[in-house]
Amino acid sequence: MAQDKTLVNGWQPVIGLEVHVQLTTNTKLFSPSRNQFGEEANTLVDLIDLGLPGVLPVLNEGAIKQGIKFGLATNAEIAETMVFDRKNYFYPDLPKGYQITQLHYPIVKNGRVGIEGKEVRIHQAHLEEDAGKSMHDIYDDESVIDLNRSGVPLLEIVSEPDIRSAEEAVKYLKKIHQIVTYLDISDGNMSQGSLRCDANVSIMRPDDKEYGTRAEIKNINSFRFVERAINYEIKRQIKILESGGTVEQETRLYDAIKDETRSMRTKEFANDYRYFPCPDLVPFAISDELKKEVQANMGELPEQKQVRLVETYGLSEYDAGVICADKLTADFYEVVVKDASPKLAAKWIIGDLNALINKNDVNLSDSKITAENFSKLIQKISDNTISGKIAKEVLEEIWESGEDVAKVIEGKGLQQISDEGELEIIVDQIIKDNPSQVAAYKSGKDKLFGFFVGQAMKATQGKANPGLINQILKSKL
């Protein structure tokens, strides 16, 4: 059975994700305030975001187009008419006392995405407004609220419970991340909260007819935490069931520091959101013209980009796939190869650059590396200014400092030594200093050639042009 791999101690985990994606519109979903991360607190707030008496929401049609884009990219049904509902609850960072969202008539329904041979169905994706941000740790005895985020458009993507392991959940989430960033409807920046998810987790025996009771883990904001939180939760539920207990339907929080999930509220205390259609907004009809217009401006999807990179730059399918996995990387690559060798650039991005990204656990966009600077690095390798070994050093240096590649090379005197005369003097000295090795080499110990190359590199701190050194050594020995 294919599913056996996902069983944990004979239990089948069943997982569904709700992914919240902040859309990159100019203005908020229902107000003219700017939609921007990282501005001074409460500076992107107008009457509507404050929920003042008598103010009314006006729908941002840009967000509708982005929702349609996502629907088209996931082969989903686009609503003919969508309706906004009010979700009522009290919280200080929710100024109106309700969130405008979509319950029964969402913009997108019944989509699907593929994750390595498996299909995950999307139940629906709906538009809604984000809440503000409460902060409890700035002042000792007061909480403060920043409403810049209040009203920012979100697309909430709700999957069917088709996911069977934490690993699959991460793959699915990465796929969603890939789609929304390629469609350019979100920056997908998880550390800034542009993409975050809730995971519904339950376990069952493989032959059970019904799913087990699920727990919902709220607000997980990194791929790594998704995996950890789900794995923790699966183990927790197994422990409960195997000791004869029952899993409670509840909302839980993942604590990344302690690596555990904690109960936030049980079903008994669950909010009754009293949803009803928002009377301030009329049902919105999505015309075929609008759908066609969006279709015509879809942009390139990852699979399409992959094919293009193979055809344009002669990359292997695998390399193109790795580069296209992440839109930032793919965009980065295309800037780099404007002036640098496509194959060499691909090799360095997939190898050393990705290693640095993973090691530091950051986004490429958050690093100090720019595509232009990286391109110079590749060019310096191509024209033999520096060796591969030195290039690694330079890459690490520009990763840390962001400094210009040419300056780093010059400043540290890292240019490759390609002056034949200079190298000949060095080689002569090596031959002179190692008479026994020379004799051994001449008597047939070919392997010793590497020793001489090593000595030359040592003498030049790795700066010797390897091709030239080989050539000189061969002629002199």
Partner: protein, 475 residues
């Protein structure tokens, strides 16, 4: 003070805006016992009047140029306190202007003050105001009706010739009837709701009060506009209502209710209703009997939908951002105390009802069913308007009643809206006008028209008022 007369005198320079404004303010203070105003803006109003007089040519041709007006305290006015007659907003000064008041300012009117009302427009007697009840100019122990009681009283007592109101379940028409003046509830969407504090968003609609249809037409000309800031605002060619009064109405088919005497309407009101029919008949109109046995289900639907929406609309008053805030040590206590202290009994009651009908397990039984009734009401009217041009009804069951009746019989109070609610549920326009006098108190009747037929409603009322004097009788 009839609007048409004073505008004429202002335009002929027989009276200045300043004199008109001073006169209105003097009366507002002289009749302060009516408690019709929550705030007056004497200094600003006189300043504006003076400015208008100094720039007479810019104002003389405006619909409301130089005319003092009273605005219901539900419309947000920039830099001027707006309370909605609630302790919750006792000290709230909005940093923005409602579209209605902005339109009226631009039409040249002078706001002398903000009128008293039922708290958050919830009530039919103007007794739920945090600022105390409004007294009907026709008798000091009588209610003026509600929720726009202060605006109706201001016009009835001749303090201003015009006033704005809002009508969610009859809040313009019922006080107009009880105070002996004319009031119009426009088609839902004709007048922008931007800056008008929401009670029941799907029914709230602002409209004019005046002695007669002419004044209402002029004020509606100023109030009505398409507004991109209100998604429910209607995008239509602008109609000039004042001009529409000059045209002929022709011979209309007017719908009347079969079994109207079975609805609990007082004898005096039925008698006045019959008299009006005689006049209408003389003017060449004919009547078609309609079967409207579903009429009374409107109240049940209304008293589910309106509280449901209000429970959500009023959630923003939580003590966190603006308005009343009680001293509390934690957030739940802050919500609880602030809302218990800030809202009056009627408002709290409706929030509770609304919360209940929307809650899990009850939604289908109440809210969904109420919406079904609402759709039925709408299709009923659609059907009526296939065979008639207008529907003619009394406005209320009773004339102005004594204060404190509410507390003894709340259901009776809700039933008071029987004849006004159907127009709100269907979103239709309706005009109430004085059509009789009994027990020395005024009586009102109303026309309900098809969507956006305000011109016809105003015109037929105007034609009636050309041959009757009920609208001229003052307390």
């Amino acid at each position: 003070m009839n609007f048409k007369d004073i505008r004429e005198r202002f335009r002929n320079k027989e009276i200045s805006a300043k004199e008109l404004t001073k006169d209105s303010l003097d009366k507002a203070h002289k009749y302060s016992n009516l408690n019709a105003f929550i705030s007056t803006f004497d200094e600003d109003a006189l300043k504006k009047a003076e400015y208008i007089d100094n720039n007479f040519n810019d104002y003389k041709d405006l619909a409301l140029g130089g005319i003092p007006i009273a605005h219901k305290d539900i419309f947000c006015t920039k830099g001027k306190r707006t309370t909605c007659a609630s302790k919750m907003l006792e000290n709230f000064t909005p940093p923005y202007e409602s579209t209605v008041t902005s339109n009226c300012h631009q039409a040249g009117s002078i706001m002398i003050g903000k009128t008293n009302m039922d708290e958050f427009a919830m009530g039919s007697s103007n007794e739920t105001s945090f600022f105390g009840p409004v007294i009907n100019p026709w008798g000091e122990s009588l209610v003026p009706g509600g929720s726009s009681g202060g605006s109706a009283a201001s016009v009835a007592a001749d303090i201003t010739s015009l006033a704005t109101g809002t009508d969610t379940g009859g809040s313009i028409r019922q006080p107009a009837a009880l105070c002996g003046i004319t009031g119009l509830k426009p088609t839902y969407g004709l007048v922008s709701r931007w800056g008008m504090i929401a009670f029941c968003s799907s029914m709230d609609q602002a409209g004019p009060f005046a002695r007669d249809a002419f004044g209402c037409a002029a004020l509606l000309d100023a109030m009505a506009s398409y507004d991109a800031k209100d998604s429910t605002s209607a995008q239509r060619d602008k109609v000039k209502y004042e001009d529409a009064l000059r045209g002929d109405v022709g011979n209309l088919k007017i719908g009347i209710l079969r079994d109207i005497d079975q609805l609990g309407i007082s004898e005096e009101i039925l008698k006045a209703y019959e008299n009006s029919k005689t006049v209408l008949e003389k003017q060449g109109h004919s009547f078609v009997e309609l079967d409207f046995s579903e009429l009374s289900s409107g109240i049940c639907s209304y008293y589910v939908i309106a509280p449901a929406e209000c429970s959500s609309n009023l959630a923003r008053f939580d003590g966190v951002k603006y308005g009343h805030r009680s001293d509390s040590s934690n957030i739940s206590e802050l919500y609880l105390q602030t809302r218990s202290e800030g809202f009056g009994e009627e408002v709290r009651k409706r929030i509770l009802i609304g919360t209940y009908v929307l809650s899990a397990g009850f939604y289908d039984a109440y809210y969904r069913k109420a919406q079904k009734v609402r759709r039925m009401m709408k299709s009923k009217f659609d059907e009526f308007f296939k065979s008639v041009d207008l529907v003619f009804l009394p406005t209320t069951l009773d004339q102005a009643f004594e204060m404190n009746r509410t507390s003894s019989d709340p259901n009776r109070m809700y039933k008071e809206d029987l004849l006004t609610i159907p127009a709100n549920l269907a979103g239709l326009p309706a005009i109430s006008f004085p059509n009789g006098l009994a027990n020395e108190l005024p009586i009102g009747a109303q026309f309900v028209g098809n969507y956006f037929s305000e011109d016809l409603l105003l015109n037929i009322t105007h034609k009636l008022q050309e041959v009757t004097d009920w609208h001229k009788i003052k307390p």
